[in-house]
Amino acid sequence: MKAIISDAWTIAGKDLGNEWKNKQTIGMMVIFSSLVILVFSFAFDPTNNMVKAVIPGLIWLITIFSGLLGLNRSFLSEQENDSITGLRSAPIDPSSIYLGKVMANCTMVAAVQIISIPVLFLLFDYRFMGEFLWFLLVLAAGTLGFIIVGTFLAALAVNAKNSEMLLPVLLLPLLSPLMIAAVQATRIILENADIQDAMSWIQLMAAYDLLFLAACFFLFEFIMEGS
């Protein structure tokens, strides 16, 4: 188990180091999420008070849309020079490839969120009044679940020629329960309502995260096997 995590770190470190050098994927993701916010502010007038109600949903929309870009890249980049086969023939457990990719993707999406969510609040003139720690917790739980399932399906979709188109079609239906929970929990926290109401949603997200982490972790080697 320890070996799996240290190998996962090596792989995540390679991906993140690579990203740090050219900053291409992250840059695209940030620009894209800002553009989504921009388009939304044209679609719904930000000066209208009613629009405040869609903020929780928007947070998750920009996370998913920009996250999809990064997820698409994460395994496509391994196809160049077939380096995924290099990883497969290395003496590591296939699950560590998955874990490493989850770590790298999570870091990237979190980095994008750090920029895009304040931009969202800024452009929609939204004053944050909820409890910050709870907000972070909900954000972390939702993002983690998204990345867990997304990374797994990205590895699956990369086998197809049209993987960029296939990934959202596979991913979004599976994300629906997580997104319902995440949006509801975020709404409750942003409206500064009783945290107790959000508890059941947070529990649902935690259960979803754990269940799918376990399932993806064990099923990943079947994706890697190939034939």
Partner: protein, 236 residues
């Protein structure tokens, strides 16, 4: 072997014809008209049966996906695929009948009633599953990938249902029940009988379609094999 399976198919076919007519008779003539909803309530029998088969078909996909992963076998792969195709059909019927019923009883085409909404998500998962199966590559590879997706999809369905139900009860406290007919108080025995008969008939129809679909798919594989062989021989 060939003869025997042909016999089962014929028997099922001739059993299905009277059963379908009997089901129609029970639904439209024999069973009483519901007091509050009137004649449109009749669609409920088909709606529930199709919904049952839609979910059954999906769990069949899950079952054969697990078996494919344990021991790759083209038979399991075909079974899962046919079940998914039939599942799309029944999910679509469920959605349509649900919408018609919704229009007649709540005067709206769509409600986010948990069962109906779950069916919608199920439809999307089915379609995604069929997309995975359309990938290029050897059948072993596709079998593995689609089986993995099938399993993840099956795990997801109960969670979707739960999430939508919670979401719903938070939004509107009282949801007009559908499906098991909880709204009328008790269900009258003739109605229950009709419902069970319908469910049975449609399940049998599913089994029959499954067998036929598998047969056709196997033929398709046989033809492909023969074609490849011929091409290889021509190529030298």
């Amino acid at each position: 072997m060939k003869q025997k399976s042909g016999f089962i198919d014929t028997a099922m076919f001739y059993l299905l014809i009277p059963m379908v007519f009997a089901a129609l008779y029970f639904v439209f003539i024999w069973s009483p008209v519901e007091k509050f909803m009137g004649a449109p309530q009749k669609i409920f029998y088909f709606h529930v049966s199709c919904a049952w088969v839609a979910f059954l078909a999906f769990f069949t996909v899950g079952y054969y996906s697990v078996r494919t992963l344990i021991k790759p076998n083209i038979k399991f792969h075909i079974h899962a695929g046919i079940s998914a195709e039939i599942g799309v059909l029944f999910t679509t019927i469920t959605l349509l009948t649900g919408m018609i019923w919704g229009k007649s009883s709540w005067n709206t085409w769509w409600t986010w009633e948990p069962r109906l909404a779950t069916t919608l998500i199920l439809w999307f998962i089915y379609v995604a599953y069929l997309f995975v199966r359309r990938m290029e590559g050897s059948w072993e590879k596709i079998a593995k990938l689609s089986a993995v997706f099938g399993i993840i999809g099956v795990i997801n369905v109960p969670i979707v249902f739960m999430a939508i139900r919670w979401w719903n009860t938070k939004l509107h406290p009282v949801v007009f029940g559908d499906g098991k007919n909880q709204d009328g108080g008790g269900i009258e025995p003739p109605m229950l009988f009709t419902l069970l008969f319908c469910i049975f008939t449609i399940t049998l129809l599913y089994a029959y379609l499954m067998r036929k679909g598998i047969e056709i798919e196997k033929m398709r594989h046989a033809v492909k094999k023969a074609k490849n062989k011929a091409i290889n021989r021509l190529a030298g």
